[in-house]
Symmetry: C2
Amino acid sequence: MAFAMTNGGDICDERFGLNKAVRLMGPVQLESGGTFAPLDFAYETYGALNAARSNAVLICHALTGDQYVASTHPVTGKPGWWTRMVGAGKPIDPQRHCIICINVMGSCMGSSGPASINPGTGEAYGMDFPVITIGDMVRAQAILLDHLGIDTLQAVVGGSMGGMQALSWACLFPRRVRSALVIASTARHSAQNIAFHEVGRQAIMADPHWHSGAYYSQGEAPAAGLAVARMAAHITYLSEAGLTEKFGRRLQDRPDGSKGAKTFGFDADFQVESYLRHQGLSFVDRFDANSYLYITRAMDYWDLAEPHDGVLARAFAGSKARFCIISFDSDWLYPTSESRRIVHALNAAGAAASFVELSSPFGHDSFLLDAPELNRIVDGFLRAGEAT
Amino acid sequence: MAFAMTNGGDICDERFGLNKAVRLMGPVQLESGGTFAPLDFAYETYGALNAARSNAVLICHALTGDQYVASTHPVTGKPGWWTRMVGAGKPIDPQRHCIICINVMGSCMGSSGPASINPGTGEAYGMDFPVITIGDMVRAQAILLDHLGIDTLQAVVGGSMGGMQALSWACLFPRRVRSALVIASTARHSAQNIAFHEVGRQAIMADPHWHSGAYYSQGEAPAAGLAVARMAAHITYLSEAGLTEKFGRRLQDRPDGSKGAKTFGFDADFQVESYLRHQGLSFVDRFDANSYLYITRAMDYWDLAEPHDGVLARAFAGSKARFCIISFDSDWLYPTSESRRIVHALNAAGAAASFVELSSPFGHDSFLLDAPELNRIVDGFLRAGEAT
């Protein structure tokens, strides 16, 4: 492979940059037993790989996230989902880091997923796409990193499902991960986590437009079911106190501008109703319902201790990585107790682990919001790794 | 009116007993401005009204409850929903009390609701049924109590939405209520409470079988949507710890009896998934989707302080009742903080109020489960009222 050398030895060729896509033959080994190929990857990189190839930072996205971590989203036109954390002068900085963000396998923004065309049939996979796990997503990402010539990650960073991938990376590829930053995440999905996802899946599968997943050629997607799924999930991303602060019982002003009043009907009288409906409706424009099924399933299967007879510390036995675990006190989706459980296991495994619980009224979504303390911690953790 | 006298002066005629139904002309005044008539009531009574008519205990049921508080449910064949609390030798005892439980207005077990036939058209009301409030339900109940010749209630008792009615009774009819027992309830619906209900309503209204509420003549009800609504709500009735204790991440045994394993598919692999699906599916056999819309709407409109400029204490200004407020520490639907808010307002209003937070791992549904402490408190509170 020939690399274009820029910036005094930095590696930056056509494999790197914005809006990248590549098909690799893999195959990726799946936990369900088989393999999957070919693998499409959609990804973005910011900054250049240094000559020592030691400054790669992989950012793993959450359930409904994507590779547009710091670029404008092509569908919504909105800024990247983590511009507060990623950018010039930010803790994850393209001037210091070669930042990679890959659309996860199973998703719908260009990487292989149920909406992708199956080269064997010429039609969308639909439910013929294999059910995957967080580990499968990570093994697929490793294949792309091989292609990029990146053997070792300075850091793998993620919030929520991104944190699951960061943990999985450190456990599956201990040699390739120097540090892992796990934010608002968990080492396993709880019964309540599974229950909320199951509600969402049932909402999608109850939508007659779902057609057992074969809706791509039908002209209409199961949008109503997906919107309900998103609404239910969205409540779990916010805290009770945050919802009260943001909306309380305030009524929606009328379309004619007059002051809100109870209509004694089923329109959105309360602001929180309008907000939730908007969350549901806008989501369906940018996300595939089958991807929602597959990724929630992968998350529900997530239990890092399971292959180790339930002893989480054993999952970390081979890892030499430094870990930083961060939780938010108002996160009831993946509460601090789950982060503590990870930290206890890391301690038991003799791993280098630091842990911070941050205070925020905004629940699980806090990691995506303005959080100066979070930025300071991420910055300090990454710089400590660069100094050694 | 002629009363059949039994038991040395006790009042027990054809208006009292099991499986009662009556149509009264009312009308009931509605908060939305109009009136509603005629009013169908389905109700049960246990025990006899004493000659002084001083031993009536009204039990108010929750969102999906009904009048079968201590009788076998005619659809499910299951025992009454509160046989732990109501029966011979129980805190609410037909040998001491004349117990009344009325299917709330808006519901679907015989009292007027959206599935009832509109005498004006000969067809089901559907969405022509008026949007009602908790206060409207209570004003309707007062019309039935008038018919029963019951002026004053020894106690009005309820859990969850039943507790809202108990509070509303004490505030709307201060002269008619000697004591109110409010369990696992709240004086207002929070933004999060409204949000969960809105998800359920959207699930129902997204079901193509809903037909804007006019499904009664269509042969098929919006069962899939209603099941999803029930699943989402059901999660809020249980605690995270309770779900973990009951199900954890345990897998469902296979239909052939073999041990559970991940199927890498979308069947119910986890026990909690089966449980939730069962909750959803069994609910649709006994409940009307439009009733679910109307009653959740009434609950979302519930804010006892609203007509008093947000000052809850003023709602209790006229009440001479004794209050007992009970919460459960694991109830995150109507958390203890909401019960405390009621108690503070009662104190500010100079009302006689006692308050207990009970410890239980089972979340909101604790009030329906075996809770000896709850029974002792209810028993003590009712007997204290009888002694005076």
